[in-house]
């Protein structure tokens, strides 16, 4: 727990130094994207890693947040410090509504219904032209004259810090431990008085809130929101990040977000080949690295931890 906290703080501190060291706008853009995905992956991880149910509808909250920020900014002219938190709150409301229905379900049913909600929202966004401007999307969202990527980088870094703080506090709270107990064994958890629905709901709403914050930031950063924020590719990217990094750890999704962002950028020129390779990578991760990078590292550390012990014992005997 202390190690986890220190690594997270070190990550944030190192990230805070980045704009001072790097002035290249392109590299800063990559940093912004990586942190944006780190927030999303952290929020998805709360559901996938700690509740243990596989949500494929997380784009619903990203999209709800993005549209909220876009509409508040273009219609009411609210500034960014108001739209992004409001985007999070509206997403949390969506999370509460969708969670109230979907969290009664488990396994494949949960997967399909969460996905259905995201698809319904996408189709509504695509067709409710009076509000969402349909497939054309909402363009020209106010950026308040910020042209330097470094400023955006600090904004998204602040949001990442908030997301990691909330996730850390949740995971190490009673509710977080209860969620893990439900994940490991639902019936045992219930028998000692844990309410599975209630704890899952807390994680789900928190996840929705964080995804909404990320969505709100996305709206201002890209300055455009269209129905594609609800689409499956976003979802796939998030899942790959969580799983590659290691679900159920706080560091894993961040590592996954950074690796996948860089990999996507590196392979950008080869559009279809890139995605073909992505498919293969996903399959390879599932087959050979089922607990992600963090699971792999933890396993190695355990192995290294056990190896020196007998050696020490033999030394003692020889003395």
């Amino acid at each position: 727990m202390t190690l986890e906290r220190n690594v997270l703080l070190a990550f944030l501190a190192a990230a805070a130094l980045l704009p001072a060291l790097v002035t290249d706008q392109y590299l800063l853009h990559l940093g912004v994207v990586a942190l944006f995905y780190a927030i999303l992956a952290t929020s998805l991880n709360l559901v996938v890693g700690y509740v243990g149910e596989f949500s494929l509808g997380h784009t619903a909250f990203l999209g709800a947040g993005a549209y909220t920020a876009a509409l508040l900014s273009t219609h009411l002219g609210l500034p960014m410090w108001a739209t992004i938190p409001l985007a999070g709150l509206i997403s949390a409301v969506f999370g509460f509504g969708i969670g109230a229905i979907t969290l009664r379900l488990q396994g494949p049913y949960f997967v399909i219904v969460t996905l259905s909600f995201a698809e319904v929202l996408r189709i509504v966004a695509n067709n409710w032209i009076a509000v969402t401007n349909g497939p054309m999307g909402l363009a020209g969202i106010d950026q308040f004259g910020i042209t330097n990527k470094g400023t955006f980088f600090y904004i998204v870094l602040g949001l990442t810090a908030v997301a990691l703080y909330l996730a850390f506090r949740f995971v190490h709270s009673n509710a977080g431990r209860a969620a893990v107990a439900v994940r490991e064994n639902r019936y045992v958890a219930q028998s000692i008085g844990v309410d599975p629905f209630g704890t899952a709901m807390q994680a789900f709403v928190l996840g929705a809130f964080l995804a909404g914050l990320a969505g709100g930031f996305y709206a201002h950063y890209i300055s455009f929101v269209g129905p594609e924020v609800f689409r499956f590719p976003f979802m796939v990217t998030m899942i790959i990040m969580v799983l590659l990094g290691g679900k159920g750890t706080l560091l894993g999704p961040i590592a996954g977000a950074v690796i996948v962002t860089l990999l996507e950028e590196y392979l950008r020129e080869m559009q279809e080949l890139r995605l073909t390779l992505f498919g293969l990578i996903v399959m390879a991760v599932v087959l050979f690295l089922p607990n992600g990078l963090m699971g792999f590292i933890a396993q190695r550390r355990e192995q290294q931890g056990t190896k020196p012990a007998p050696r020490a014992a033999t030394k003692e005997r020889t003395v």
Binding site: F54, L56, I101, R104, L105, Q106, G107, P108, Y109, V111, I112, V113, L115, S116, F117, E119, V120, I123, V124, N126, N127, F232, V236, I239, L243, E272, L273, L275, T276, F278, G279, L280, I281, V282, M283, V285, V286, L287, P290
Partner: protein, 292 residues
């Protein structure tokens, strides 16, 4: 309400429903019985259309021998997918299966795009396009033949499951894998055969619809989702349910498209699935009293 128009919508809905049913029948085997949440199902459907286009236009086969060749090729493909990928995550819950099939679907779509490109491909049909009139209803000959083939395939799948030794082995394996393997059934082969059958049904549905409309590399995602919708509507693993669910979805979409709004047709299935899980979570025709 205009009765002629109503009947025409109903017919269009039933035509689409047969193909939804055929594709969903494949998924009810893979998802309902084997418990693999198969997100690559739409890609099997897509591959059926694309290979159908390849064998009819490039190899110059006629429609029916092309159909047979596609069936054999896709069955072999499904067998290999199960043996090399799905088998490794069997019995580990649904999550690794979801990821594995998502990875497989991304791979198949983009590999297909690399090879044949994004343009729609027309599968050469069995008969000409000319329309037939039944009273006020117009149906093209091509659709009628495709629906006929679809129904024949559904009946064939039913016979395989109910009347053959393989079918008996399947039913035994999904009731109790341990007891089945103790009785001498090679459950590994049964799983692979079930997956292959599911894959083939999806692919043939794709080829039949490819002859009416056209096959396209990027169509799979929506088909996967609709097949899931149909399977949940009908009840997991239920043969009759997949057919009824497919027809229901086809007709509901046709009426929604005809009377309400064409833009939002795809929303029908998702709303149906949310409603059914709220009010009748075991599906319309579940074979066991299983709840979500």
């Amino acid at each position: 309400m205009d009765l002629d128009l109503f009947l025409q919508f109903l017919t269009n809905g039933v035509v689409m429903g047969v193909f939804y049913a055929l594709s969903a029948l494949g998924l009810t085997l893979i998802f309902g019985l084997m418990r693999v949440v198969n997100f690559a199902h739409g890609e099997f459907y897509m591959l059926g259309g694309v290979t159908g286009w390849f064998v009819t236009s490039y190899l110059g086969l006629d429609f029916f021998s092309g159909l047979a060749l596609v069936a054999v090729a896709m069955a072999a493909f499904g067998w290999l997918v199960d043996r090399f990928l799905i088998e490794r995550v069997r019995g580990q819950g649904e999550e690794p299966g979801i990821l594995l099939t998502i990875g497989l679907s991304i791979f198949l779509v983009n590999a297909t795009l690399l090879v044949v490109g994004p343009a729609p491909m027309k599968v050469a049909g069995a008969v000409s396009e000319g329309p037939l009139f039944f009273g006020p209803i117009a149906v093209t000959k091509l659709r009628l033949v495709a629906v006929g083939v679809g129904i024949a395939l559904i009946a064939g799948a039913h016979l395989i499951i109910r009347r053959t030794r393989l079918g008996a082995a399947m039913r035994a394996t999904f009731q109790d894998p341990m007891a089945a393997s103790l009785a001498g059934i090679r459950t590994g082969n049964v799983y692979a055969a079930t997956f292959a059958l599911g894959c083939t049904l999806a692919a043939l549905s794709g080829m039949l619809l490819g002859s009416i409309y056209s096959a396209q590399a990027s169509v799979g995602g929506l088909i996967s989702l609709k097949s899931f919708v149909v399977v949940i509507l009908g009840g997991m693993g239920s043969f009759a349910g997949a057919i009824a669910g497919g027809l229901l979805l086809g007709v509901a979409e046709a009426f929604w498209g005809g009377y309400v709004a064409t833009g939002m047709v795809d929303v029908v299935g998702f709303v149906l699935v949310i409603l059914i899980l709220l009010f009748r979570p075991q599906g319309l025709f579940s074979i066991r009293a299983e709840r979500a």
